[in-house]
């Protein structure tokens, strides 16, 4: 049984750490097995979860906030409200890129079906916000593939560029350190 060996490692961890027992004594015979034994344990040191001692934690109110926010669930439209007057576009919106707006200039009757509020978000030009979100996706994709270990902060800095280059190298792409289409595709990121 595979888990029994793992269990033995788990239970024997302290003794192995102390050095009071050789791996042979644990039943690891071949060198390969010793590797999976001690080596695997060393690796999983990074994974260790320790159980914090809760005893005699003073009865604090750490969670007072959550208590007041305990039963939320979605309520997308629960407070939706109809409007007798409806939403009316009266003039072309003085905001950029009004391409999508229908019938510019014609004052709409106050029927709800006529209206199109202007989307305030510009389409063609990526805003700094869009760029930052793209970087978030790239950093996550790199991290998952082992090419990035920094924070996912949406900033295309030297560490992220280095990660991109390393990834590009491993994929046989030009090492530009940029988020070009090929690289994004290989990272599994679709371009909006």
């Amino acid at each position: 049984m595979k888990w029994r060996k793992r269990l033995l490692q788990v239970l024997r961890w302290s003794v192995m750490t102390v050095g009071g027992v050789s791996t042979a004594a644990l039943g690891f015979s071949s060198a390969a097995e010793q590797d999976t034994g001690v080596g695997a344990l060393r690796d999983s040191d990074h994974d260790r979860v320790l159980l914090p001692n809760t005893l005699n934690a003073t009865a604090d109110d750490r969670y007072a906030q959550h208590r007041s926010h305990s039963s939320h669930s979605s309520h997308r439209s629960h407070r939706s409200s109809g409007s007798r007057g409806g939403i009316r576009r009266t003039v072309p919106a003085p905001v950029p890129q009004p391409q999508e707006s229908p019938q510019p200039g014609s004052p709409a009757p106050s029927a709800p079906s006529t209206v199109a509020p202007q989307s305030p978000r510009g389409r063609p030009q990526p805003t700094p916000q869009d760029l930052s979100m793209m970087v978030v996706r790239v950093q996550a994709a790199l991290m998952r593939r082992g090419f990035y270990v920094g924070d996912i902060d949406g900033i295309l800095g030297p560490v992220t560029r280095a990660g991109l280059k390393a990834f590009q190298k491993s994929e046989g792409l030009a090492q530009t350190g940029r988020m070009d289409i090929d690289t994004l595709t290989r990272l599994g990121i679709s371009i909006p």
Binding site: M1, K2, W3, R4, R6, L7, V10, L11, W13, S14, V15, T17, V18, G19, G20, V21, S44, R48, V49, L50, L51, N53, L55, N56
Partner: protein
């Protein structure tokens, strides 16, 4: 296959017929009837029963293709044994062997108050401090022992000042504990202890007749002077800065209630009922003061019953060893008590700096050296921690320090809660592994576990609330409801 078993251990308690105690590799437990136990062992348990699910919850059986819940087992084991990765936190300074008491059970060979050559010198003290600060332990504890530390108070002051300065420079935390009879502590000395937040630990063996029989001093007034010292120390340093422990001798055995009552009358909220040690004087005085382990356990049981009644009547007082054992039984958390660990913590989590500059794995190791066996001397204060750790002394500790692998221990139902004590077994049996059936350490701990598990099996709510209050360090009245009994 129906289900699989993890390497559980089992045992039967003398006071509990027709029940079998089963413990998991990390110390989760369940009581089973003889019938259910046989079913468990023969893989005949019905998987749809609550009992089966309880056993699976406690990692005694499993049935998933993935095996047992290994993440939980690993977290529990690592949490309990984390100390093996830690540096020494407890640093015991034996400042002097001089003392004015001639306690029959004393573990030290005391020297007269005026004798020379038995005090720690400045060079040794400074080197010992180097070792203390070489340790990366989160909180460092410096404990002053003797002899009577008060006889070496100027040295103690210099060590405290130097350690405080070094701690402040390096952002470390240091606690100080001073073991003292308090008799020799003047108001000025106590004021120093107050200013440096030194915790005082004294010996109080019970009512006057017990205490004075155990702890003779020239004037035969040790009890009165101890009580006076406690009052003065509390007045100057603060009530909570003074702790006491009781050593139990043959004189003490008839008086479990009186000893407990002495503590409550003096306003202590903790008592330690410490058995007599087989070291030093105590071996010679064995005839006069010693007793069979069974007698100690009888005493302990009576004291425990009395303590529970006292707590239920509204006084808050714990027995600290029971609190320690319960924490090991009922929680996944580590305990810092260095004398009951597996792997043994001697030399790893505690270091003893003798007055002469020798470094020992434990206080008992030092006493053994006084008696001519220096195998637990790790080296000198002038050697690095790494070198001390690589000493032959540590090899002995490591080889015989893993209770889970020791003969008899490895099959004992209590081993998840117990420890290994190679130094004790060298002292009493001449061998670091030792022979379990005749080991006082084993008999005593087995007996203590029997007593506590009887309480847990009986499930009497009031008694449980008291025991729980010791473990959780809350007052009984705070525990509105005992909660699930598990």
């Amino acid at each position: 296959m129906n289900y699989e078993t993890l390497p559980f251990r089992y045992g039967r308690l003398p006071g509990l017929s027709a029940q079998v105690l089963v413990t998991s590799p990390v110390g989760e437990y369940l009581f089973l009837s003889e019938d259910d136990f046989l079913k468990l062992a023969n893989f005949k348990l019905d998987r749809t029963t609550e009992l089966y699910r309880d056993l699976r919850n406690r990692q005694i059986v499993c049935d998933s293709e993935r095996g047992p819940f290994l993440r939980g087992l690993e977290a529990q084991q690592r949490t309990r044994k984390q100390f093996v990765n830690e540096d020494p936190a407890l640093h015991i300074f034996v400042l002097t062997l001089r003392c004015d008491h001639r306690c029959h059970y004393c573990q030290v060979t005391p020297k007269h108050a005026s004798e020379r050559g038995f005090d720690m010198g400045g060079a040794a003290a400074n080197a010992a401090l180097d070792r203390v600060f070489e340790s990366r332990a989160e909180v460092l504890t410096i404990e002053f022992q003797g002899g009577e530390s008060a006889f070496a108070f100027p040295r103690l002051c210099r060590i405290v000042e130097a350690a405080t300065a070094r701690a402040n420079e390096t952002g470390r935390r240091v606690r100080f504990v001073m073991a003292t009879t308090l008799h020799r502590m003047t108001d000025d000395m106590l004021a120093f202890c107050r200013d440096r937040q030194i915790e005082l630990s004294t010996s109080l063996d019970g009512p006057r007749h017990v205490h004075n029989a155990n702890r003779p001093n020239p004037a035969r007034d040790s009890f009165e002077r101890t009580v006076e010292g406690i009052a003065r120390a509390r007045a100057i340093c603060g009530h909570e800065r003074v702790a006491a422990l009781a050593t139990i001798t043959r004189h003490s055995l008839p008086y479990p209630r009186e000893i407990v009552d002495t503590y409550t009358e003096l306003g202590f909220d903790s008592i330690a009922l410490r058995p007599i040690s087989p070291f030093g004087f105590a071996v010679k005085a064995q005839e006069k003061l010693g007793y069979a382990t069974e007698e100690y356990l009888q005493f302990y049981r009576e004291a425990l019953n009395h303590l529970i009644a006292v707590n239920l009547a509204g006084k808050v007082i714990e027995e600290s060893y029971a609190a320690l054992l319960l924490t090991r039984i009922l929680t996944p958390f580590p305990t810092g008590y260095v004398d009951l660990q597996s792997p043994a913590a001697a030399g790893r989590n505690v270091l003893v700096y003798n007055y002469d500059g020798g470094v020992y794995v434990s206080d008992e190791g030092r006493m053994l050296a006084e008696m001519g066996d220096d195998r637990f001397r790790m080296g000198s204060v002038h050697e690095s921690l790494a070198k001390l750790r690589a000493s032959d002394a540590m090899r002995i500790i490591n080889d015989a320090g893993d209770a889970e692998r020791l003969p008899v221990c490895s099959d004992c139902v209590y081993v998840p809660y117990c420890g290994a004590d190679p130094v004790f077994h060298v002292a009493t049996q001449g061998d670091p592994v030792g022979h379990r059936p005749t080991s006082e350490f084993c008999q005593r701990h087995t007996g203590l576990f029997h007593i506590l598990f009887e309480f847990l099996a009986a499930g009497e709510p009031d008694a449980l609330r008291v025991l729980l209050s010791w473990m959780t360090r809350r007052s009984v009245s705070e525990l509105v409801h005992p909660g699930y009994r598990g």
